[in-house]
Amino acid sequence: MNQHVLAETPLLADTAEDDTPTRSTTHTAARDEIVRLVDLKRRFGETPALEGVSLTVRKGEILGIIGRSGAGKSTLIRCLNGLERPDSGEVHIEGREISRLGENELQPLRRRIGMVFQHFNLLSAKTVEDNVALPLKIAGRPKAERRARAAELLELVGLSAKAKAYPSSLSGGQKQRVGIARALAAEPALLLSDEATSALDPETTRSILALLKDINQRFGLTILLITHEMEVIRAIADRVAVIDAGRIVEEGPVWSVFADPQSEITQSLLGGIRPQLPKEIAEKLSSVPGKEAILRVDVAGDAARRPLLSELASAVPGRFRLIHGGVDHVQGEPIGSLFIGVAAKDSQVAKILDFLTARDAKAKVLGYV
């Protein structure tokens, strides 16, 4: 397997564009963006699926879009290769607006955008090898080339031995590897992944995500992936956008969104993988000052690299106890969430809050027990 597997070819030749002066300026300004969505809207009858989505995908990055079921994720990703047509808004793929192209004009474009599906969507009547080679057959490439390329890709995904097998004899993880190999066959400039791991068990999920990350790093392939699991975002995304009810509610580098989730939906999606106040304590929590105040402390980045707790212990007299929490590392950045109990004397609590705030930690009193 060599570095030529995915050539760094542009999705569309610049000549394909009717270069008006204004357009070429925006084109240069956005050299490293491969996808730009502007105010996409789409409804299905009375059901709104997208309510004005604007988003950019940069060349070489892995952008994760997360949202609950029905948030509009699939509709969004399908607008990128024209499987779905927005009612309004713009879809720019390497500078070219595609949302109003006809099916025939979309076809050559789609050959350069790979897509991986939740349910794999492999053709049951074709062997693994023929499934992988299908995009090349569609592109009219000669048989010898298709075979060679399929063999190369099956080696990449570790399934050379299964070339002649039929998909029904494969496990879920193996099927998705074939799906990925197939999506890469025509040397795409962009890979779309719609819940590629949602039908897989956690261990298989990890190995599929590792494969995607590897492909991204080795070949610089841009990946846009959709998921409803924060674990997936955490494992491979560089940036994350949170979609809810057809709108992007939050967007940023993964570690910063993890460290400081703004919207309620993000917090709830993060719930499973960030420390939560233990249930027994949460149930007893009251807003009336009692014996002990429960504080939540969030630190990230440099603030989380310092010996915060020992500094706190020596700076503020009095005792506190650590109830729950820990420091996690996302994209190499430490992100800490701690739950602390302190004697509920106003002066004591205020001092601790001041101390922590001064050290770039976010601290707040959740209540009293």
Partner: protein, 218 residues
Amino acid sequence: MSEVMIQLLLRSIWETVLMTAASGLISLVAGLPLGLALIATERGGIAENRWVNRILGIIVDGFRSVPFIILLVALIPVTRLIVGTSIGTWAAIVPLAIAATPYYARVAEVSLREVDRGLIDAARAMGGNRWTIIREVLVPEALPGIVAGFTVTLITLVGASAMAGAIGAGGLGDLAIRYGYQRFETTVMFVVVAVLIVLVYGIQWLGDRLVARLDHRA
């Protein structure tokens, strides 16, 4: 059975096989594209077209609603136009094929509809056009059902060809009626029924084996 009777039986078997095979082949060649057209033009299909879909549906179901024996007689002018005569084995193939084609179109349509939409999406996402979708996805994925449906159609044609005796087409059904029923030659009746059973079982067996070989779904 006499020597003459055996000769007659062999000829009848040949006539039945000929009528079934020829009209079956025509219904396959014409019915499958018709089934594809029905699927393609339906709502959400790859070549959605409400009017074409509606008109095709009306034609197909119109033919299917006419009892075969009536079709047999009603089509006599058409048969004469195509075959040159309205009597005999070849003449019977025309109404048999015309009756079987819309029937098979609906049978094929059912199998084609079962093809997962996700597979069509996958082909579209690869940049495939309609023709690619038909050739690489719809037909190969529905092939087990298409073959199973063709088996059913052939067996139906074996039965229908018996009625073609009415226009002098010969065949096993005709033999059974003329000798077994009208002349009380019970042996002939039994032999004909036995041959028909073997024929039907044989077709079903071959069809099932072919389906098993073609079917790679889980």
